[in-house]
Amino acid sequence: MTEYGFAYLDEPTKRMIRRALLKALAVPGYQVPFASREMPMPYGWGTGGVQVTAAILMPEDRLKVIDQGADDTTNAVSIRRFFARVAGVETTTATEDATVIQTRHRIPETPLSEGQILVYQVPIPEPLRFLEPREPETRRMHALEEYGLMHVKLYEDIARHGRVTTSYAYPVRVEGHYVMDPSPIPAFDNPKMEMDAIQLFGAGREQRIYAIPPHTKVVSLDFDDHPFEPGRAPQTCALCGAADSYLDEVVTDDAGGRMFVCSDTDFCGGRRARGLRGPGLSVAAGDVA
């Protein structure tokens, strides 16, 4: 692909995005407007994340792309191929080997370390959007730290159902100021957001970038008497036996058969490579890919 520059975007565009990223890192959780470009994949497929990745990729990077925690979901395959093609970077599925990880809907189970960057694809960056549809209004609410509406929503959940009924895209407060949408990751992943790696969030259609620098305080909103409770299926992974990973429910037949497996395929594969087995996998059939 000689018709396009390194990582698809032209250099002035990358510089513009990098400036937005620096500002976002300087003001954790603040949504920085940026002049999002059309990308060759549709809005909603991760154009924000793709632009962020394109702007930060270096030729020596090793890129991992996951969707729903898995490297082999079609959209992850498509985005990974895109960067292999337009940037020629090495790709990997191993979380610990990657320097840049682009994700949709999950944070890897394996803790990330300093030097790694996690890029999130974000559909609706505004955590207050479904409480207040107007952008000038929500901008003002953030500026004034006027988050009463959000607390009322959580309170109403508890009054009505006995608990908060947000199970994913669960709002967090970053470094004691901005309330931020963590993108549609399950609430299970929220506690991982206090990490050693850099977290960058790109919302292409909505033209916003935001970020969490390493070691930043990220608190899931809750009440003293109703503390935040991340949820997961109570089962263990049928393949690797993990009891603490986030699980996908797989329907195995039309008679109500169910099986629970790790959503993070690299994590699950790594455990199985170390000989760990779950109840759904006999030792004889051990070497499943």
Binding site: L9, P42, T165, S167, A187
Partner: protein, 357 residues
Amino acid sequence: MYVATKGGEVAIDAAHAWLAEERRGDAATPALTDAQVTGQLTLSVARVMVEGALYDPDLAALAIRQARGDLIEAVFLIRAYRTTLPRLGYTDPIDTGAMQCERRISATFKDLPGGQVLGPTFDYTHRLLDFALAAEGLEPTTTREGPVPPKPRVSGLLDREGLMEPAEEGGVPGDVTRTPLSLPADRATRLQVLARADEGFLLSMAYSTQRGFGRTHAFVGELRIGAVVVEMEIPELGFGIEIGEMVVTECETVNQFTGSGVAPPQFTRGYGLTLGRCERKAISMSLVDRALRAEELGEETGAPAQDQEFVLMHSDNVQATGFLEHIKLPHYVDFQAELELIRRLRREAGERREAAE
């Protein structure tokens, strides 16, 4: 036994191969050429150019063929290509007053300097399926006349009498492809967004104002289609040189305005401009532009077409179709969280009921 899926790569390749086959269709039928598309599906080409925001009939034709005739998909292909083009500079504003009009009509004056020129319009055709066309029958005989002299603008005629609000003297407009949209947006910015907007969306928005949701009483002061020259100032030269020519469609509406404390009663303007021949869109755009000026003119507001956040944020079909269709991507992680939550809520509700009994 369940095996962790590894089918993504294979599935994508197979789908792409099938798509290529479907696009080509029956191999016994000759393949379409770009020249056939630019020459015979001109209005599709125009729509792809204006919504793709790139004036290049050949690329639009290629996009239409590649997209199997799905025009929004073709628009998307053009946008994704255009975004990679370096921004070398900005041309001078085109002068539509100097347009070589192939069509120029006014609904406000029976006759006017420069005359009414129908041009190649569907307007007065009878919409009867032409079976001669199906049989590839008679080639049409052309009665086209040569280039016509520039025609004065209708709004200029009203201007001279002071009946028309003065046109805004524009500074340098922003660029919505280089600056994130910030609300409220000024008129130049709004017009840029509307120029790229989905024709169907604008049509419905404009139609809603005609049916009473933000009524503006629009008259088509003038609709003109034709070629204009594009000039660009080259810094090294210090003057503008002609770099090309393109066909555009321009619509100016004349709308009633009863006046305010500071302004006397006068006609106000709505403006629409598109690349290529996109008459329906240009008219729709001028109605929506005028509707979006309601607040500025101190009119009653509240209708959807008068709400700039509503109109501007939902008018782009590449954005809309992408976000709409993304819901077919996997969401099983989030759905799993919802499954666990609803089971838990039901269990707890059951326990509460039992405890109460």
